[in-house]
């Protein structure tokens, strides 16, 4: 099985392998990604394996074993893969099998056979078993033997970790076509929707996962993605949100039953509490109140309580604020302003929490779209984002030879010069004589690039001057005034000034004209005619520009030599 497959016989799926949950998806003949449910009907399959008398349980069944059989249940192991014992954080595993050092890697001491004997099972072996189960679920669903996959990994997954995952996948009979990073997969999932428009935009992917949170700032330029900045956090996580709820319910319990012990001090009670709190958290994403109910929590006492969403929002306020800080920090790290961000994609299971979306929405200007289930009806299920992206990528690359894929993902191909400044034209406006910059190609666009712009001309037609220039984005801060000054050419739409009562400063995105690159003239334009400008920028920064009237013949062609070449360059 480990051999390379003939691309024609490949059945490839997308796998998102997370610390808490994994999911699998495939692309239908119509090119739509569909998430596969396992035998128990779970689309989010807990990345947990449990062993009972030599029988292997997986997914939700294994998760329920955390209460009774915690010592033989392995959970939260993804981040341990390919790591050394000294560099791992075993906190999330506290409630399940504990990791131990095994030679140069990490293992779990579990009874995975019927014998009454503890075996040391390495993390890569556990991963192999987990992937095998995922593979068999997908194979059963598709009726075809799945033998290849695109797997998503966090952006900070090291080569050693990828190598270890690749090996584990190979053992499980899966040929890894490509590793793609989770945030980019999420963007791809959105961009692959038929109604998606291709635009140059900057997207923030905020992934609030179970054991970790990752934020990535991605520039999408003509469908090519460049990661501008990433932030990883192991503190602001979904497990912490569970913890908040657990503390809350534990206190409620103690209030009612003073004599009974603290459920947090009893292993089994803690596990029950944790499982139920996760369920409550999920219920609160959908409804405005949820029931908490555990039978025999401590000392045989059943406990039921209700919680409403407002209370939960208050309890988790600190964490939500921390998450927002994390996202804004990522934007700062990319040396951008919230105004530059056109979309925020919230991924991960906790993105379902409405408060997360609303808190992020408050942190970004109104021009920014927040893509989360609670703010946008068309949002894709945030837990399925990366797996859908992986499935789409799998369908794109599955007919290529592995070698071909490797060559295409080689740094020779992926390292590309990116424009440091936006390039655009100078248009006139009433007040400024120098003209107003209008970008045609944004900064951080990978080269080579080709863009076409259609520009209006004066009403009466005639001869026009086209100045190409570099521009830099500038954030203009104005103190609140009764009549805020508006720039109609700005992308954002500030016409509704509801917040103008508040003592808040008004921030706008404006452009500063930088170096002028060239001038060109088009003569004799008809009334109401338009000018088409096509700009080609090569990887060596040489510019090839074509200016012509829309519908007209001929036109002007010009070449700007790359910076280090001779100064005289005219066509």
């Amino acid at each position: 099985m480990s051999a390379e497959h003939d691309p024609a016989q490949r059945v490839a799926i997308g796998i998102s392998f997370g610390n808490s949950y994994s999911s699998i998806a495939f692309t239908t003949a119509e090119g739509k990604a569909e998430v596969i449910a396992n035998e128990d009907g779970e689309r989010q399959i807990p990345s947990i394996l449990s062993y009972v008398e030599g029988e292997e349980l997986h997914g939700g069944q294994a998760k329920s074993q955390l209460v009774r059989n915690a010592k033989n249940t392995v959970a939260y192991f993804r981040d341990f893969l390919g790591q050394e014992f000294k560099s791992i954080d075993p906190t999330p595993c506290h409630q399940s099998a504990h990791p131990v050092q095994h030679e140069s890697t990490i293992a779990f001491k579990i009874r995975d056979t019927a014998e009454d004997k503890e075996n040391e099972v390495t993390v890569s072996e556990i991963t192999t078993r987990h992937l095998k189960r995922l593979r068999s679920s997908a194979s059963n669903y598709l009726g075809k033997d799945v033998n290849a996959a695109v797997i998503t990994v966090p952006t900070n997954f090291s080569n050693a970790q990828k190598e270890a995952l690749n090996k584990a996948a190979k053992e499980a009979g899966i040929e890894v076509l490509q590793f793609i990073s989770e945030p980019v997969a999420a963007v791809l999932a959105y961009d692959a929707r038929p109604e998606a428009k291709m635009a140059d935009k900057i997207i923030v992917v905020a992934d609030l996962g179970g054991a970790r949170s990752d934020v990535a700032v991605i520039a999408s330029r003509g469908g090519i993605y460049t990661v501008l900045a990433t932030v990883h956090d192991y503190e602001v996580t979904g497990l912490k949100l569970d913890q908040v709820l657990m503390d809350h319910f534990a206190k409620e319990f103690l209030k009612k039953h003073k004599s009974a012990g603290d459920p947090r001090e009893n292993d089994r009670a803690l596990a029950k509490l944790r499982l139920e709190c996760e369920a409550v958290k999920k219920a609160l994403s959908i409804g405005t109140s949820a029931n908490f109910s555990v039978e025999s929590l401590v000392g045989g006492i059943d406990f039921t309580a209700t919680i409403n969403r407002t209370r939960y929002d208050l309890l988790g306020n600190k964490l939500f604020a921390a998450f927002v800080r994390l996202v804004t920090h990522a934007v700062e790290k990319a040396e951008l302003d919230p105004l530059d961000i056109s979309e925020v994609i919230i991924a991960g299971g906790n993105a379902n929490t409405p408060k997360v979306a609303s808190a992020l929405g408050a942190a970004f200007p109104e021009s920014t779209t927040i893509l989360a289930p609670s703010t946008s009806a068309t949002a894709i299920n945030p837990s399925e984002l990366s797996v859908r992206g992986a499935a789409i990528q799998a369908s794109l690359v599955q007919e290529f030879e592995l070698e071909d894929i490797e060559q295409s993902t080689h740094p020779m191909v992926t390292v590309t010069p990116h424009l440091s400044h936006a390039v655009g034209v100078l248009c006139i406006s009433g007040e400024e004589s120098s003209g107003i910059f209008h970008p045609i190609i944004d900064a951080e666009t990978p080269l080579p690039v080709r863009r076409i712009a259609i520009i209006a001309t004066p009403k009466e037609g005639g001869d026009v001057l086209i100045k190409l220039a570099e521009g830099s984005r500038h954030i203009k801060v104005t103190k609140p005034e009764p009549k805020p000054k508006k720039k109609s050419e700005d992308d954002e739409d500030d016409s509704d000034e509801d917040e103008s009562d508040e003592e808040e400063e008004l921030r706008e995105k404006t452009w500063k004209v930088g170096k002028v690159l060239s001038e060109a003239a088009i003569k004799g334009i008809k009334k109401g005619g338009k000018v088409e400008v096509q700009i080609n920028i090569a990887a060596d920064l040489g510019v090839n520009a074509i200016f012509r009237e829309v519908g007209g013949k001929g036109g002007v062609r010009g070449i700007i030599q790359p910076p280090k070449a001779t100064q005289n360059g005219s066509a």
Binding site: I180, S181, V184, A185, M198, A199, G222, G223, I224, Y225, V227, Q393, L396, S408, T409, M412, V413, T414, V415, T416, P417, H418, S420, H421, V425, C427, I428, G435, H438, P446, P448, R450, R451, I452, A453, I454, I455, A456, P458, G462, L465, E470, K515, V516, L517, S518, E519, A520, A521, I522, E532, N536, L541, V543, R557, G558, I560, Q561, P563, G569
Partner: protein, 444 residues
């Protein structure tokens, strides 16, 4: 690629602006930042294609467009049209049961592999050519027999049930098993592989394992034969049924024919199963790999046995050797002991002789020393006591001391010297506690 729409108007060309061909380069772009783009998505694929083949945007557009156009053309082009056999054109439509539907439609090279789409297109091609109206218009006869054949063939082949029935008895798709002689030329896998590929079309189970080649593993080979011995076939023989009379007059006749058909089908099915079984048997008998695996197994078993025997033999030999060695050691030891004993005896004898000789010397010395009596003949008593004393010395010293004493006395003629030596000896013995002072009368 989407274009940017700019609604603000462009400035009017200032007076006196002039440039060569209306274009004036002024500045250069600022330096670019190198960043990693994510190898994901359809647009990246296009980027990678351009970069790897060093194409520009427009080149890539053109090449991709050509690739796409070709695909469409291929679809139209690869159409299937085999020229009709003149004999086939003579067929009567009422004999449709006997016709080869695939040949009629001109797709006999595809047969059971033909897709529905191919059948439809083939049908269309044939209709265009053989439509009776066309023939009539061209002044031909009104012969629509072959056209009816075409229609019938399409009807059968486009109905999955009927098509399966026809495929079941489609002997033209069968591959004759090769004879033993043919396979001996070394193309066993090629010839038999084709046979099983053709038979595999009846399988309910997919995928059908391949015969493989001489390098196939034992597991693969076993899997292959297991599959064929437990072959699950959908083949049925309704197509060969005798026509059931559909007149209502004789129900009995109808039932009789139906029963006959049932029996015939069953019989044919049994025969087919038997035929397949024999086919697999034949192949198995000729399969070199089975022999090879058997030999390997034997070799393995033999190897184990031989190893075991060798081990036993080696153990036995070792035991015998050890025993021999021990016996040899024993014998050597005994011999050594004997020799030692003899040596000891001899040495004792020699020592005794030496002692005797020494004693003689000592006694001689006493005599030489005139029995410690000054000058003149010694009186008998003096001789007696001297001899007595010397004897006492001799009995009290051991052989070695005796030898040294003898060494000292040897060749001494002077009576005084001799006496002195003996007195020294006495003194030494007294010192060693072997003699008592004054015991020696003559040597005091």
């Amino acid at each position: 690629m989407a274009s940017v729409q700019v609604s603000l108007p462009l400035p009017v060309l200032p007076q006196g602006w002039a440039a060569d061909r209306d274009f004036k380069p002024i500045g250069h772009l600022s330096d670019a930042n190198d960043r990693n783009i994510e190898p994901v998505g359809p647009h990246f694929l296009a980027h990678a294609r351009r970069k790897r083949h060093k194409r520009t945007f427009s080149e890539d557009d053109r090449i991709q467009a050509q690739v796409n156009v070709k695909k469409v053309e291929d679809d139209d082009e690869d159409d299937i049209s085999e020229p009709e056999d003149p004999l086939m054109l003579q067929r009567e439509a009422k004999d449709w049961k006997g016709q080869d539907h695939y040949a009629v439609l001109g797709i006999s090279k595809y047969r059971h592999r033909a897709t529905e789409d191919q059948i439809k297109r083939a049908h269309r091609k044939k209709v265009l050519k053989h439509h009776p109206d066309k023939k009539a218009a061209a002044g031909g006869t009104e012969d629509d027999q072959f056209f009816k054949c075409i229609q019938k063939a399409t009807e059968v082949l486009l109905d999955p049930v009927k098509r399966r029935q026809f495929d079941s008895v489609d002997e033209a798709a069968d591959v004759e098993p090769p004879t033993k002689k043919e396979t001996q030329k070394g193309n066993f896998y090629k010839l038999w592989g084709k046979v099983f590929e053709a038979e595999g079309r009846f399988s309910n189970v997919h995928p059908v394992p391949k015969l493989g080649n001489e390098k196939s593993t034992k597991e693969e080979v076993e899997n292959f034969y297991d599959f064929w011995y437990n072959f699950d076939s959908w083949r049925s023989f309704e197509y060969l049924d005798e026509d059931v009379p559909d007149d209502n007059e004789s129900r009995d006749q109808k039932r009789h024919v139906e029963r006959k058909n049932q029996n015939a089908r069953r019989k044919k099915k049994t025969e087919d199963t038997a035929r397949l079984r024999k086919l697999v048997d034949d192949c198995l008998a000729l399969d070199e790999r089975i022999k090879k695996f058997r030999q390997q197994e034997h070799a393995q078993k033999n190897k184990r046995r031989i190893e075991k025997e060798a081990e036993q033999k080696r153990l036995a030999e070792e035991a015998a050797k050890a025993k021999e060695e021990q016996a040899k050691l024993q014998a050597e030891k005994e011999a050594a002991e004997k020799a030692e004993k003899a040596d000891a005896k001899k040495a004792k004898e020699a020592a005794k002789n030496a002692a005797k000789k020494n004693k003689r010397v000592v006694r001689g010395a006493v005599k030489e020393g005139n029995y410690f009596h000054g000058a003149g003949d010694a009186p008998a008593s003096q001789i007696d006591s001297a001899l007595h004393d010397v004897d006492a010395i001799i009995t009290r010293i051991d052989n070695e001391e005796l030898a040294t004493l003898t060494g000292k006395l040897n060749g001494k003629k002077d009576a005084g010297e001799i006496k002195q030596i003996l007195q020294d000896e006495v003194k030494r013995l007294v010192g060693a506690g072997k003699l008592k002072e004054g015991e020696m009368k003559s040597l005091s």
